[in-house]
């Protein structure tokens, strides 16, 4: 009876179900294999925890690092045990190239491009055929956009002061100089004979020579931030280049009352009772005009346009970058401001605003490049036996339309070349070339000297170089940073006609 019941069947059907479930499990395993072997592989094989990377560091010569003219910035030497160590061209590039040490790990480009330099990088397809080659390592040489001579002169211009200089080609995003001071000699960290003592001394130095200020330093921007406010104001349509504020001349004397807080200015009595527009307000660096523009633009749009310039996230760069911010972002007002007082102060760079020198160089470069932000690049090619991988220009986005960018260019030209403007930006003009720029004097509160800032570009009509100069606690922007910028831009344009 039981044996013939309809519910009791031979086992074939249920065994088939079991087979299907198990086959699916194998399918999942194959997919997982693909995930790790192909999709995640490029990241995993670059990891410093990968024993192949560790092993290669000891036995395989690293690729060289060259500047844009082919000058060797980093090469290999052999120690007494026959193991390789790195030798660098000089202290000027240490903050950019970094070091690759057996004992102290990696920094800078040596860290960011470790896999390419040791020769383990490569996508799944090119990597797949490597096993048919003689060696599984194919060290790549890095070709940088950096101009070693310019880089060295930028470091010299800063001298013994703490600061940073970023110079880049606004049309391609190629970084020509990325100087941070104080710097150090990376060769002392990689040379086995001196490494231990040198590294300990660098770590103890209170001036933090190991900190690449150009990319990881965050500073109060002061008036150079006004260019960001101008971009947001014009871009959002809140203001036009001819916008004036009737209350502005009077506010110069008594201060601008924002919610019971007075925004003070009064450093340009020459403009008298004339209401200023974009160009004249930028020429004299009018805090009141920019505070009113920021208030009219609104916190949300100010933060949004700053975000389009790169604020609020690490920059898409070859080296790690600190995040620049317009505001601390904890407030309830639009954009994360606490209230209109903070917004008004932020509009001329004195709120809870902190920026990296690289970010401010990108602000200048975006204005110079007709409103289009190019991805900043240091590495332009990776050369190995497998071939050369060129890394070309990459447009991140059009931040504002070209005509609005050109209006800001006019304002920045006035700030450098105008009758009144040149008093605030002494020495930033490149002789014989129309120069655009903006100085900044970032008050830090208390009794300390302000940070001295300058951002700009030249020639204004067809820009070839954009620059940001920051000198920590050095005084007024027009007095310290501006002449350095003028001198370096002039030198670059003369050498690259």
């Amino acid at each position: 009876m039981l044996a013939t019941s309809s519910r009791r069947r031979p086992l074939g059907r249920t065994i088939l179900h079991v087979a299907l479930v198990l086959s699916m499990a194998f399918g999942v395993l194959a997919a997982a294999g693909g995930y790790w072997s192909v999709i995640e592989a490029p990241d995993l094989v670059r990891s410093p925890y990968d024993p192949a990377v560790i092993a290669a560091a000891r036995t395989v010569p690293r690729g060289k690092i060259l500047d844009r003219a082919g000058l060797v910035l980093a090469r290999n030497a052999k120690d007494a045990n026959g193991e390789f160590y790195r030798v660098y061209r000089g202290p000027a590039i240490s903050q950019v190239v970094g070091y690759a040490s057996q004992s102290y790990g990696r920094a800078g480009l040596e860290r960011a491009y470790d896999a390419e330099l040791t020769g383990l990088a490569g996508d799944a397809l090119t990597g797949a055929f490597r096993k048919f080659g003689a060696s599984q390592y194919d060290p790549g040489d890095l070709v940088l956009s950096l101009d070693y001579g310019l880089q060295r002169d930028a470091v010299r211009a800063l001298g013994t002061r703490r600061g940073a200089i970023v110079m880049l080609d606004p049309t391609t995003g190629e970084v020509r100089a990325l100087a941070s001071t104080p710097t150090y000699d990376a060769s002392t960290v990689t040379d086995p004979a001196t490494a231990q003592k040198a590294f300990a001394a660098l770590q103890d130095d209170k001036d933090q020579p190991l900190l690449p200020r150009a990319t990881l330093g965050r500073y109060v921007p002061g008036s150079v931030f006004k260019i960001v406010t101008a971009i947001a104001g014009l871009g959002s349509g809140a203001v036009t280049p001819s916008t004036t504020y009737q209350e502005q001349p009077a506010a110069e004397k008594r201060g601008l009352l924002v919610k019971g807080f007075r925004v003070h200015d009064g450093h340009h009595p020459q403009t008298g009772s004339t209401p200023l527009d974009l160009v004249s307000a930028t020429e004299v660096s009018c805090n009141i005009w920019y505070a009113l523009t920021g208030l009219r633009t609104g916190g949300a749009d100010l933060v949004a346009y700053a975000g389009r310039l790169g604020f609020g996230a690490p920059l898409p760069f070859d080296l790690p970058t600190a995040v620049s911010q317009v505001t601390g972002g904890t407030g309830k007002a639009p954009g994360g401001f606490v209230d209109d007082v903070e917004l008004a102060n932020a509009s001329y760079g004195q709120g809870e605003t902190f920026v990296t020198p690289l970010q401010m160089a990108l602000v200048a470069a975006t204005v110079a490049n007709d409103g289009a932000l190019m991805r900043p690049r240091l590495v332009t090619a990776v050369r190995s036996k497998a071939g050369t991988r060129e890394i070309g220009p990459e447009r991140v986005r059009q931040v504002i339309p070209a005509d609005e960018a050109n209006a800001i260019t006019d304002a920045m030209v006035a700030a450098v070349e105008g009758q009144l403007g040149r008093q605030f930006t002494t020495g930033s003009k490149v002789p014989g070339v129309t120069t655009a720029g903006k100085s900044g004097t970032a008050e830090l509160g208390g009794t300390g000297e302000p940070h001295s800032w300058f951002i700009g570009f030249a020639p204004a009509e067809a820009p070839r170089i954009a620059i940001a100069v920051l000198v920590e606690q050095a005084g007024r922007g027009g007095e310290v940073a501006a002449p350095i910028a003028g001198q370096l831009m002039a030198q670059y344009l003369a050498a690259n006609p």
Binding site: S5, I15, V18, A19, L22, L44, A52
Partner: protein, 480 residues
């Protein structure tokens, strides 16, 4: 139906050795030739990479292994049984891959002193492989009757539980797990043998009680379940699995046993409700274990984010994933992977827990998928043997034997690939270790024997198991 006894050409009396009538096995011959070719090419590749010469890496070892495979084939031909011709080549290729891998790893990973001379990893594995081939072939040729498995299922269960208890009490802790049983000079991992015994017992139990498990219902809310007393084995099984986790700290074996048990329960009854209850029990048990035992919770934490501590607790699994990543699509080539830093292998347990990672690096994703495919072939042959077997006992037995190999491969491969938490079971036929190879050889031998349709037919199906004898009234009540 399976109930009809077939006479065919089987001898009327059960005997151990049948008359010898050689029968060619051309499919097996051709497949073995391909396997041999593949292994020679692999060995040449290994020689080229490691010794920089175009000769096989360890020609002697490979020759012995191929001779053992050939010998097995000849023995099967001579024995004249009509058994499966795919299993031996598939398993032979897996074993050959194992041999190449063990030859290529540092030989001092495992050493053994034999009569004054020391032999290393590759030679020890070769010896176990040859022994395993001998065991599988012998079982495949000699076993013609399943009575000795069928009739004494409770004896087998007792043996299994005795083995388990013995390990609980006398086991030696190795690496925080109590898996190894050492009696005098002989040591081994009983859980490997236990999985075979478990399948034999389950096949006996489930085939005998299948009618009851299918026909009778107890309603529990919306669920229709078999009579509750028949669920006792499930609870017992669950308890045993938990016991293994608690006492032996062997998550892998517990997972394997429970998964095979659930699959067989489903195969025998077709009742999804049982599987669901089993899964609920599994989840409850896992949660309980994770809340009670640090080592279980640690495993789960490592699984969720091994990169949180890449040099400490997450080291092995992170290194395993790195190995797969270095391999990429086609691999770095046999012998070219596993970069040594300071003379140490990146993964210490590469030969037992992570051979798939080593093969994933050297043979690439393509190689991993090929190896997974080989396991699927073995499983498919086993399940096919199960589906076409003459009666329920043989069906469930063959299915269970195929599953212990398939599920075990899934568990360890999933651990290596971070699909499941890592549990230390061996990769069948590839991992180093005698217990594992011999137990899996027994599985293959039994499958070979079961695949021969010409052997003694199973006894007629019985409705007179002791359980049904005890409860005739219940059965009768349901019959119209």
């Amino acid at each position: 139906m399976s109930a009809t006894p077939r006479t065919a050409s089987a001898p009327s009396l059960p005997r151990i050795l049948g008359p010898i009538r050689p029968r060619p096995r051309w499919t097996e011959t051709r497949l073995l030739a391909i396997v041999a070719l593949a292994l020679v090419v692999g060995s040449l590749s290994l020689g080229l990479t490691l010794a920089h010469r175009f000769v096989p890496y360890d020609p002697g070892g490979l020759a012995i292994y191929l001779a053992a495979l050939g010998g097995a084939h000849v023995a099967m031909v001579l024995a004249g049984r009509r058994s499966d011709q795919i299993l031996l080549p598939a398993v032979g290729l897996l074993g050959g891959i194992s041999l190449l891998l063990m030859q290529r790893l540092p030989q001092d990973l495992v050493t053994l002193d034999v009569g004054g001379s020391t032999i290393g990893l590759g030679d020890i594995q070769l010896a176990w492989l040859c022994l395993a081939i001998a065991v599988a072939t012998t079982l495949g040729i000699v076993v013609r009757s399943d009575t000795w498995l069928r009739r004494y299922k409770y004896t087998w269960a007792a043996v299994g539980i005795a083995l388990l208890l013995l390990t609980f009490v006398l086991g030696v802790d190795v690496g925080g797990q109590r898996l190894t049983l050492r009696i005098g000079p002989v040591s081994g991992q009983p859980s490997e043998l236990l999985k075979v015994i478990l399948v034999v017992f389950l096949a006996g139990y489930l085939s005998e009680n299948r009618p009851l498990l299918i026909e009778q219902d107890t309603r529990l809310g919306p669920l229709r379940l078999p009579p509750l007393p028949y669920l006792a084995p499930m609870v017992a099984m669950w308890a045993i699995a938990l016991g293994i986790v608690v006492v032996q700290r062997d998550l892998g074996a517990a997972l394997l046993f429970f998964a095979v048990f659930l699959a067989l329960l489903y195969a025998a009854t077709g009742r999804l409700s049982l599987v669901l209850i089993g899964l609920v029990l599994f989840v409850l048990g896992s949660a309980l274990m994770a809340s009670l035992f640090d080592h279980v919770r640690a495993r789960i934490d490592i699984w969720i984010d091994p990169f949180a501590d890449p040099l400490g607790t997450g080291y092995q699994i992170v290194q395993s994933l790195h190995a797969f990543a270095r391999g990429g699509l086609l691999g770095v080539g046999l012998g070219a992977g596993l970069p040594m830093v300071g003379g140490r292998l990146p993964i210490p347990e590469i030969h037992t827990d992570f051979p798939l990672a080593a093969l994933g690096e050297e043979l690439g994703l393509v190689g991993v998928i090929a190896i997974l495919g080989l396991y699927l072939v073995v499983v498919e042959r086993g399940l096919r043997i199960g589906a076409s077997a003459a009666d329920d006992f043989r069906s469930i037995l063959a299915t269970g034997l195929a599953l212990v190999i398939g599920v075990q491969a899934v568990i360890i491969a999933a651990g290596d690939l971070k699909v499941l938490p890592l549990t230390g079971v061996t990769l069948p036929f590839i991992s180093y270790g005698g217990s594992s190879l011999l137990a899996n050889a027994v599985v293959v031998g039994l499958l070979l024997a079961l695949s021969d349709k010409g052997v003694e037919p199973p006894p007629p199906p019985t409705t007179s198991g002791w359980r049904s004898r005890l409860r005739p009234s219940r059965l009768r009540r349901r019959s119209p």
